[in-house]
Each structure stands twice: as C-alpha cells, then as structure tokens.
C-alpha cells in the first residue's frame, strides 16, 4: 500500500523584546540562574501581570506579514497545570481568542511552490527550566526564562513530507528574522517546534491518528524525527496494529521517538480567561502604522529579484532565504557593476561554500560584499578569469590583502590579453604536441580542449580564455 503523510507544525518563536511579556525583567539569554526573575516572574503572592505593548506590536506585525486577520480583540487565558518550573501553577496564554487568525505562507520544494495555511498564532509566556544535574539527587529551577514572550504559530495539516515541513520551518524562520521579531536562535531555544504527524492510505480522505513530536530544535532533527515517525507509524499499521494518539519525544542521539504520554494521561488544563488582564484591543490606526513600516517580505523580495535581476525561481529563493543574504547580494550587484547572474553564482557558490566550511553566518563573512564586488568587477572587465578570481577570493578570505586590485597587482595575476603574447604560447603548444595535432586533424575534435588547457597552463591561468579559443581555432584549421 502507498501511504500519504500528513504533517502540521506548531512553531514556538521567542519574541525579541528587551523585557518579559508580563514583567520588566530582562529577557537576555545566559545569565546566572534566577538573576533575571522578578517578583512577577517568581509568582509571588499578590503580584499581577501587565502586558508588554511591544509584544502586541510584534504579533500584529507577524499577522500582517502572513496576510492574516489581526484580531481587534484577543484574550489571555490561564492554562492550569502543576510543574516546578511554572511558578504560578498556570501559564498565561491565549486560547479561544488568539491575536492572529488565518494566514498563509508560501514554500518551495523541488522548485514547486506550495501554500501552507496557518490556523492561528497566539501569544504566551514561556516557563522556566528544571535542572536535573549537579544537585545531588534534587532538581534545581532556573526561572530566568519564565515570562519570556513566545508567539506560537499553528499551521493546518497541509504538509505531506518531512521535506515540506522543513521548508515551511525554514521559511518561517526567515520570516520572523525579516520582521525582526525574533533572533531565531535555535540553539538557545528561540525557535523550536512540535510536529503533528499521521499517515493514511493514499487517496483516503480522513486523517489517520496523529502523534505529536516534541523537542524539535533544529532543521536536521525535524526532518529526521518526522521521517523516523512516518516509518514507525507505517510499520505499526502494516503490522496490523493501530497508532496511539500520544505525545512522543524525539531523542536526537538515538534518532528515535518514544512515548511521553498518551491522550488519556493528558492534563485537563482548565483554561479560562485570565481575570488579571484586560482583553487586548487593537485599533485599525495601530495596524496601519505597523503596515507602513513593514519591511519588504521574503516573497516580495523573491519576486523582485526574479524580475529586476532576471534570476530563476531557485536563485531568487535561495538569495532571499535570509534578509542578510539578500542584502549582501544586492550590495554586491550594485558595487560590482556586473551581471546579476555572475553575482548570484558567486554568492550562492564560492561564498556560501566558504561560509559553510567555516561554520559562519553571512554577517560574519571574511569577504565583504564590497570586496567580492571588487573581484567581480575584474572578471567583468576581463582583467582576470573566473579561475584566477577564486585565488583572489581565497586570498582576501585569508586576510592576505584588502581588495582584489592589490592582490592582482602584487601577485601579477592580471590576465594576458596581448594577442601576440598569447599567439606565441599557442604556437609553442602546437609545436610541442605533434601527436595530438595529428590526431586532432584526423578527426578527434575533442582534443581541442586539451590544447586550450595546455595554453592556459603555460600562461599560469592568466591568458584570456576567449582569445586562446579564437587563436587556437584559427591555427588548428
């Protein structure tokens, strides 16, 4: 039987506010445990929450960016459960009336575009952290994270493969960073997701029983966890069993998911509107003001890149995958006065390869957009060939020079365009390779490349390849 996978994601993204959602304590990551938890975060008797307006602004910004309805009235509710890292014994979240309703996001998988519907996005506070090591059998609690603002983004079950889920997650990651509402730092837990996964026989309309996978905090893990879970569910079903509705935890070390709790064991959260907080009322003037200040969004940028720079969908998507990368690219095009496609190839090719190899972000690149533009300018005006350009790039990366011109000058990498000099090399190569010449003339036309290679080698790569080609064509006639 062929099985179809159905996936929906719940993404928790930490909003990049300075202070917490309901208190004035700092949200900075990595402080000494419990130094960034004030009376409100500790849930001391008598304290009250007060909404941080910036959180509302960020959520509204997000809503507008995904074409959603930003609710004129949304309500905070209490989700009641006991856990040591949940100081009040309830989490303040939004339940029946979230701040964002019904939006959508475009993803691309295998060069095809697909729209993923977003059910809702709601605001809530994060819990603290339980620390189970170093306390001689007891547990420690760090409440620095308690009260950190989160936006939980819930998708419809619109994804059909782990690959689509990852594409959606990446696109969302890019979007929140474009909007500057989250730093998206996955290692610090600022961007994480739970996945609802089920399978059904191809063609069946009803959904199969789903499981919820928790603790997915990297793109790699999401893909692995979902794929593991799909296989597991198919195995269960093909073995004549049935999938249990449950929450499962992904173990990255063992690459497996295991049961955390079943539906029967699930808490009754006893949601009810939080009487300590008034409904969040959003007026149209507030939204208008946010709308006028929205940055260019990934999809808009992608469309513009395709039109303005004549790039393919793939190139445009890749280059707009992050705001920083797109900015780098545009800066390069502008400064290099070169073909956009040439710039795109370099940014997506050599530059990305160097970044990946050194595990660096585009913002930490050792070759700046201006420096790369300097290299590309010399390719365009034929001062150097593409091959030499790679040497120049490598040299700048290693800090052996500040700009392309200096390095080209210092190392004598300037391309030879003097046709008499090239002609001399061509003649030498032809004279020194009589056998190949005979074979070529006898019909082995593939050997043309051999001659080009030999000439280039003799020129140490500096001969203008176009001139070499033309001269060889004449001489070998």
């Amino acid at each position: 039987m062929t099985w179809e996978t159905v996936i929906g994601l719940e993404i928790h993204t930490q909003l990049a506010t300075k202070s917490k959602i309901f208190s004035g304590a700092s949200t900075a990551y990595g402080a000494t445990p419990n130094t960034q938890a004030c009376a409100v975060d500790l849930g001391l008797p008598g304290v009250l929450p007060v909404i941080n307006e910036e959180v509302v602004r960020m959520a509204a910004k997000f809503g507008l960016a995904i074409g959603a309805e930003v609710a004129p009235r949304s309500v905070f509710a209490r989700k009641n459960y006991f856990y040591p890292d949940l100081p009040k014994g309830y989490q303040i979240s939004q339940y029946e009336l979230p701040i964002v309703n019904e939006g959508q996001l475009q993803i691309e998988v295998d060069d095809k575009e697909k729209t993923i519907a977003i059910t809702r996005a709601h605001l809530e506070e994060d819990a603290g952290k339980s620390l189970h090591e170093d306390f001689q059998g007891s547990s420690g609690i760090d409440l620095n994270r308690a009260g950190t603002p989160l936006l939980e983004i819930v998708s419809e079950p619109d994804m059909r493969s782990a690959k689509e889920a990852v594409a959606y997650m990446k696109k969302m990651h890019s979007l929140v960073r474009y909007l500057e509402i989250s730093d998206g730092n996955m290692q610090e837990g600022s961007f994480r997701c739970d996945a609802n996964v089920s399978v059904r026989p191809q063609g069946q309309k009803e959904f199969g029983t789903r499981t919820e996978l928790k603790n997915l905090n990297s793109f790699k893990f999401i893909e692995k966890a979902i794929n593991f879970e799909i296989e597991r569910q198919i195995d269960v079903l093909e073995g004549g069993g049935s999938v249990t509705q449950e929450t499962r935890l992904y173990d990255a070390e063992k690459n497996e998911t295991r049961s955390m709790r079943t539906k029967e064991e699930a808490n009754d959260y006893r949601y009810f509107p939080d009487p300590d907080l008034l409904p969040v009322m959003i007026e149209s003037a507030f939204l208008e003001q946010i709308k006028t200040n929205l940055p260019e969004l990934p999809d808009e940028k992608k469309q513009r890149f395709m039109q303005q720079y004549n790039l393919s969908l793939y190139d445009a998507s890749t280059l707009t995958s992050s705001r920083e990368l797109a900015d780098y690219f545009e800066k390069t095009v502008k400064a290099s006065n070169s073909e956009a496609k040439l710039c795109a190839n370099w940014v997506m090719g050599d530059l990305t390869a160097f970044l990946n190899k050194n595990n660096l972000e585009i913002t930490d690149s050792k070759v700046s957009a201006t420096q790369l533009a300097g290299i590309l300018r010399r390719i365009t005006d034929k001062t150097i060939s593409g091959k030499i350009a790679k040497q120049v790039f490598d040299a700048i990366w290693k800090g052996e020079g500040d700009d392309a011109d200096t390095i080209i000058e210092k190392r004598g990498l300037k391309q030879v365009t003097d046709s008499s000099a090239i002609e001399k090399l061509v003649d030498e190569v032809i004279t020194n390779n009589p056998k190949q010449l005979a074979d070529y003339k006898g019909g082995k036309e593939k050997l043309f490349g051999f001659f080009v290679g030999q000439v280039m080698k003799a020129s140490k790569g500096k001969a203008n390849p176009k001139q070499v080609n033309e001269l060889l064509k004449q001489k070998l006639l």
């Binding site: 008797p45 008598g46 609690i141 009810f272 300590d276 907080l277």
Partner: protein, 484 residues
C-alpha cells in the same frame, strides 16, 4: 485619644496636643491589653510603628505633614508588607515574609500613616466569620461569644475595640461590609478597579477589591483618599482622576432617589433586623431622600453564581502555593507529586480546600460550559439588573446582612448557611459596583448595618449619604462596653 475621629486626631497632632509616637504608644498599649482576648492581630509591628511615628513627628514639626500623617492604622494580613510576615491567615504562608509592599501599603506609608500591625482574617479571605483563620477565630467586641464577621474580621474587631482608628480590608463577596455591619462600623467596598490589587494576595481576581474600614463615613473617606488611584502595575486598575472624597460629605441629600429592592426585604431577612432597617431608611427619607420600590430580579442567583466564579478563580490563584518556592513545604517529600500533595494538604485549611475543589470542578473539561460559562452569563444578567435600577434611582438601600452576628461555631460546619449570610453583598462584587455598610442600630445589643449601593464610581455620593445619615444618628459613635 482612642475615641477620636481622624479629623480630631489630625487636629491634635497638628496642634501638638500629643505626638504621633504618643498616639502610637497608646494604641499599642491597647492592642497589648485587648488584642489577645479578641485575637484580632496576627502580627503587631511595634518597632515599625514607632519608627514610622517618629518620622511622622518630624514631618509634623517641619510642616510637611499631610492630612493623615502620624495617624495609626492596621492592614489586613492579605496586603504584602515588605520585611513583615504576610500570612493571609493561612498555615501555608505562616513563614512568608513579603519582599515587597502592596500598593495600598505603599500609599499609606507615603501618606505618613503608622502601621500598627497586620490583622487576622479568614484563611485567604474565604469565610464570613473569621473562623477559618489558621490563627484561630477573632471575637466580636460587642459580644465575644459571636463572630465579628469575615473575612476582614480582624480589621473590624480592632477598629470596633478602638485598637486602631482605621483599618484596611478587602471585599470579594462582602468581606468588608459584612464584618463592618457585625461590628457596628462603616466599611466601603469601592468600584472594582478603584483601589490597586497589586500586592493584595488574590482570592478571586475579578471580584477582589480593597477598601477602608472605620467608625464614620468621614474617617473612611479620608482613608479612601489615600488608598484609591490608578496603578500601572494592576491592569484592571481604573484610570480615574484622583478625587477628594470629603468634598461632598456635607452636600444635601434632598431629592436623592433611593431604591428599595423588594428582593432584599423578603424571606430570609430577620424580622427584627428588617424593623430596625425600616427606621434607618425613614431617617434618610427625613433627610430629604425619596423612596422607590425597585426590582433586582436575578438576586436569587447571586450566591450560586458567586460560588462558581469565586472558587473557579481561587482554584487557579492558589496554584502557586505548591511548596516549591515559598510558603509551607512538607517534611521529606518522596517525589514531586508527594511534595505537592502533602504541602498543599498540610498548608491549606478545610474551607480553602473546599473552594479549590469546587473551582477545579467548575473549570474541568465537560463542566466548564455548564458551570463557569453559565455563571459568567448570569453575572451579566445580575449586572444588568443594577444598570436598569440605576436608570430609575440614584442609590439602592437594603440590609447588609440578613441577621446580626451569629454565635461562634454555629455555622462553621454548614457551608451553605454560612454562604447565605452574604446574600445581599455577593451581587455587588459580581457587578463591580461600590457599596458601603453604615451602622444602623442594634438588635439585642448586636449592631446591624444599612447597605448602600451606588452606581459605578459614585463613592463620593455614597459617602455623602452615609455622612448625612451619621449627622442625624449616633450609632457609629457607640463603643462596645468592655472596650471603652
């Protein structure tokens, strides 16, 4: 010294008849003499009181004194006080020293008032008799065999026995007005949101409201001037301009339309209380008010509605008392569940547990719509009753309680009968309206209260009417014979 009004005390302090330290010592001595007998204090803050009195005296000497500078008061032990035990009447918080001041405490301190101590109360403000306190019941100074009412019973007993001139209290379903009525005092529950809830340990957040307790309308108007005001730390606080609640005390009440709901004078009201109340209402008529029969048809639903909403909110509000970060923790917990279960089982008393269970049930999946949601809908109907009534009249009058103070132990094992004692007061909190209780005479030497209910933010008018009533009656000046 202890029989003076706030205005008289102020005058005496300003004219140096005695210092704030002398005044404070006088009250501390009375607390020492009568406090144990009445059990009205959980903590007496002698050192803080004397230190604050000294500061007040300096202000008085240098001419930097406000209207209440140097005047002592007590706080209900539900208000957090920095560095002082704040128990909320519970074993759960017997070891809790608050690390910050409630807004109300801060405001009183800023006004130069002197804190004598923290008064006894029903555990977490849940009770109508002050018998649910971990620190034992408080006695009514008018008859120590009877209860002072609750939950602010420690505050009212202390004021009635002249152990403090005024006190703060809180009112979730009648907890200021009912004990004020039982102790022969004037007590006001302001409009929801007028007094900040920050630092006031929550029982039922949408109903809780702090307010002043004193002998006269004038005294509590002066204290309300200090307590009221917008607080950005409380999201439900009203952005209402600061008022001076004494300005209109002497206004005439001629032409004031007083509504008498037929539901408040029917079955359940003690005949003698009703009779005495008629006399009080007649006084208002004599002073120029006109009387009108009105209806509040959903009155009979107030108590059941209240006993869904208040427990539901309390079940969630009291979740933070889990033995993890502060408060009572059981000995040698075996695991997390054991820690939770035993800490809460040991830390909470029977009434608190009962309400947590009722509330948890009312919010549970499958019951939420039938209980909590339904109760919220009825709450709206109750509120609409008042909106309609205030289209016809300016104020509503009735009894504060159906009976006078009952005997200690009489109702503690019968929660429903106990809850019905708040039949006239619960609805006011559900609607968020201001209301006060004024002493309106005695039935068998036990005080009774006249309940005056105003429209939103009409505290000034309520205090005016109460003050005018107190210009033609002396009930508020009566002192319990054993505490003269």
């Amino acid at each position: 010294m202890h029989n003076k009004t706030l205005t008289e005390l102020r005058k005496a302090l300003h004219q140096r008849e005695y210092s704030s330290v002398e005044l404070t010592r006088h009250f501390l001595e009375r607390i020492e003499r009568y406090g144990i007998q009445l059990n009205s204090f959980i903590t007496v803050t002698t050192d803080i009181a004397l230190a604050q009195a000294q500061i007040a005296d300096k202000c008085l000497q240098s001419g930097n004194a406000g209207p209440l500078t140097g005047i002592p008061l007590t706080h209900k032990d539900i208000f957090c006080t920095n560095g002082v035990k704040t128990s909320c009447g519970s074993k759960m918080l017997d070891n809790f020293i608050a690390p910050y001041n409630a807004t109300v405490v801060e405001k009183c301190q800023a006004a130069g008032m002197v804190m004598l101590g923290k008064t006894n109360m029903d555990e977490f403000a849940m009770g109508s008799s002050n018998e649910t306190s971990f620190y034992g019941p408080v006695k009514n100074p008018w008859d120590t065999q009877t209860v002072p009412g609750g939950s602010s019973g420690g505050s009212t007993a202390s004021v009635a026995a002249h152990l403090t001139p005024v006190a703060t209290g809180t009112d979730t379903g009648g907890s200021i007005r009912q004990p004020a009525a039982f102790c022969g005092l004037t007590g006001l529950k302001p409009t929801y949101g007028l007094v900040s809830r920050y630092g006031m340990i929550a029982f039922a957040s949408s109903l809780d409201q702090g307010g002043p307790i004193g002998h006269s309308a004038e005294d509590i108007a002066l204290l309300l001037n200090v307590m009221a005001g917008f607080d950005k730390r409380d999201s439900t606080s009203l952005e209402h301009p600061q008022e001076n609640y004494t300005t209109h005390l002497n206004d005439s009440i001629k032409g004031l339309k007083i509504g008498l709901p037929k539901e408040y004078f029917g079955e359940g009201l003690d005949a003698q209380v009703g009779k005495q109340l008629d006399v009080a209402i007649k006084e208002l008529e004599n002073a120029g008010a006109t009387l009108h029969d009105i209806q509040l048809p959903h009155t009979y639903l107030a108590v059941p509605t209240y006993y869904i909403i208040a427990p539901a909110e309390c079940s969630s509000n009291l979740s933070r008392f889990d033995g993890v970060r502060f408060g009572h923790r059981c000995d040698n917990p075996q695991d997390l569940m054991d820690l939770y279960k035993r800490s809460r089982a040991e830390g909470f008393g029977a009434e608190v547990k009962r309400r947590i269970m009722i509330g948890t049930y009312a919010l549970s999946a499958g019951y939420y719509d039938a209980y909590y949601l339904k109760a919220q809908q009825i709450r709206r109907l109750i509120s609409n009753d008042f909106t309609e009534a205030f289209k016809q009249v300016d104020m509503i009058a009735g009894p504060t309680t159906p009976t006078t103070a009952f005997k200690m132990g009489e109702k503690i094992d019968d929660p429903v009968t106990m809850y019905l004692n708040d039949i006239y007061t619960n609805a006011i909190n559900l609607a968020g309206l201001p209301a006060l209780s004024v002493p309106a005479g005695f039935v068998n030497q036990h005080p009774i209260g006249l309940h005056l209910i105003g429209n939103y933010l009409k505290e000034s008018r309520l205090l005016n009417v109460a003050h005018q009533y107190q210009q033609c009656t002396d009930w508020h000046k009566a002192t319990p014979p054993n505490f003269v």
